[in-house]
């Protein structure tokens, strides 16, 4: 593909993401996407079958990137600790060989949460689209749920699969999946999407809300919030 071609394709995707986020999927028209990407409508149809195909592509590539961040973290950090024998996962609970191992795990997790949060904040437009799509009734666009849900039938999230390859003892009960989905994943998406609005009403700064969010997430995952040492990985 010529450089200018791939430029045009990128421009289309970028313009579509902007317009979907701003006007919703239904509200964004192909004409506007073409105009805003400075291409002809014919060229859009050359690359994409239609508006739905653009949306599918955006969602897929967004999830692919999130997946890469998660898997990279597991491969580079978690797997090392498991191989060294400093970390052992039982069910959804990480167990450590020493206090140092626990402290180093907490540090790694902290960095991971901050990196992930910053990545998602940068892509808040995509999350806005995802949530709006998830809200559209009767839509088959359940990408959000499909990506993060693990059912006992064996459908696993890529991250979960990666973990269980490393340590076959990894197991999430329905309650843990539920807890993670409604009390950690969705709050994260909500925080990213509504953070600015929240700042307006609360008078907090971005730095403050981000710190509060990371702190809450850490307490959640490190068991303080859940109590009785229930750790979640």
């Amino acid at each position: 593909m010529e450089k200018s071609d791939s430029d045009a394709r990128e421009r289309i995707l970028c313009a579509a993401a902007d317009l979907f986020a701003e006007k919703g999927y239904e509200g964004a028209k192909m004409n506007e996407i073409a105009l805003s990407a400075s291409v002809t409508k014919g060229l859009i149809y050359h690359y994409f079958e239609g508006k739905q195909a653009i949306l599918d592509h955006l969602i897929r590539s967004f999830f692919d990137e999130v997946k890469i961040i998660g898997i990279r973290f597991i491969r580079e950090r978690i797997s090392q600790m498991i191989h060294e024998g400093t970390l052992d996962i039982q069910g959804n609970r990480p167990c450590f060989s020493s206090a140092e191992a626990e402290a180093s795990y907490r540090r790694e997790m902290h960095r991971y949460y901050v990196d992930l949060l910053d990545y998602l904040l940068y892509h808040k437009r995509m999350l806005r689209i995802l949530l709006s799509e998830a809200l559209r009734k009767g839509e088959q666009h359940d990408a959000l749920l499909r990506f993060f849900l693990i059912s006992e039938g064996g459908v696993k999230t890529p991250m979960h699969k990666e973990l269980s390859d490393l340590d076959p003892d990894v197991y999430y009960t329905d309650d843990i999946v539920f807890l993670k989905f409604f009390f950690s994943l969705l709050p994260m998406l909500n925080y990213i999407v509504f953070e600015e609005d929240y700042r307006t009403v609360s008078g907090l700064s971005f730095k403050e809300t981000r710190q509060m969010f990371v702190r809450a997430l850490e307490e959640f995952y490190f068991g303080d919030l859940v109590g009785q040492g229930v750790w979640i990985l």
């Binding site: 949530l131 709006s132 039938g153 709050p187 925080y191 009403v201 609360s202 509060m212 109590g227």
Partner: protein, 245 residues
């Protein structure tokens, strides 16, 4: 226009509009459709509501009035009564109960209150869907979603806060508590209701299992806030420092 028939028509307009806003979005729902589905003429809608926006405002206002009313009831029946009879005292970071029975009575009562709120919200799922969808439209500053923040705000403008504070002037909590309440308690409940059907389908759970799972989760999460006869009002207060007992 207060005879039963017109009250009924007004109610029909409201419930039809709620359904349509929820299904098609605020922009997608047309006044014509509302009139048709409510079996009234458009003029009657305009008699009650001058604009489409005013229907939405009315729906959202009455929703928040109901929620505030339920909170006020709980404060009246439980919090104020327990404070006034000396069974409970509010300290800067916790509620302290005189006896274990008092603490358990409070726990039971607040759990009942949460269930009432949840049941009400489940009935109002179309409403919550509208609120969430509206909040997601960019440029919609200070949408209705943030009114949930107002209900937790430590300001005299918040009737719930003002009422408890009148009963015990020590009552206060930090911006971080409000933040957590909003993102880790209110939003999960809204999401639970709005994505209920989707989650049900994806997980294979039925309605009862979903509800039981939600209530179980809330109980687990709340467990760390219980400390002897105290209920903590600050995140991590009882857990960050090693406990003495």
């Amino acid at each position: 226009m207060n005879d039963p028939q017109s009250v009924e028509a007004k109610e029909r307009i409201i419930s039809t509009a709620t359904e349509l806003f929820s299904k098609k979005g605020y922009d997608g729902a047309k006044m014509n459709e509302i009139a048709q589905a409510a079996a009234v003429n458009k003029a009657l809608i305009y008699y009650y509501f001058p604009t489409k926006q005013s229907i939405l405002d009315h729906i959202i206002d009455s929703f928040f009035n109901d929620v505030t009313g339920m909170g006020m009831d709980f404060i009246e029946v439980t919090i104020k009564k327990m404070i006034n009879s000396g069974r409970m005292d509010i300290l800067p970071d916790r509620m302290r109960f005189t006896t274990t029975e008092d603490m358990l009575a409070f726990k039971k009562s607040i759990f009942g209150y949460h269930q009432r709120i949840l049941r009400y919200m489940l009935q109002q799922r179309s409403m919550l869907r509208i609120i969430l969808a509206e909040a997601l439209r960019t440029g919609e500053q200070q949408g209705a979603l943030l009114r949930f923040f107002r209900l937790a705000e430590t300001s005299d403008k918040n009737p719930l806060f003002r009422e408890i504070r009148l009963a015990d002037s020590d009552f206060d909590y930090s911006g971080e508590v409000i933040f957590r309440k909003f993102f880790f308690s209110t939003m999960p409940m809204i999401n639970f209701i709005v994505f209920h059907e989707d989650y049900k389908k994806a997980s294979g759970m039925d309605d009862d299992e979903m509800l039981a799972c939600y209530l179980r989760t809330i109980e687990t999460l709340n467990a760390t806030y219980f400390d002897g006869n105290d209920i903590l009002m600050q995140p991590g207060v009882g857990t960050e420092a090693p406990r003495e007992h």
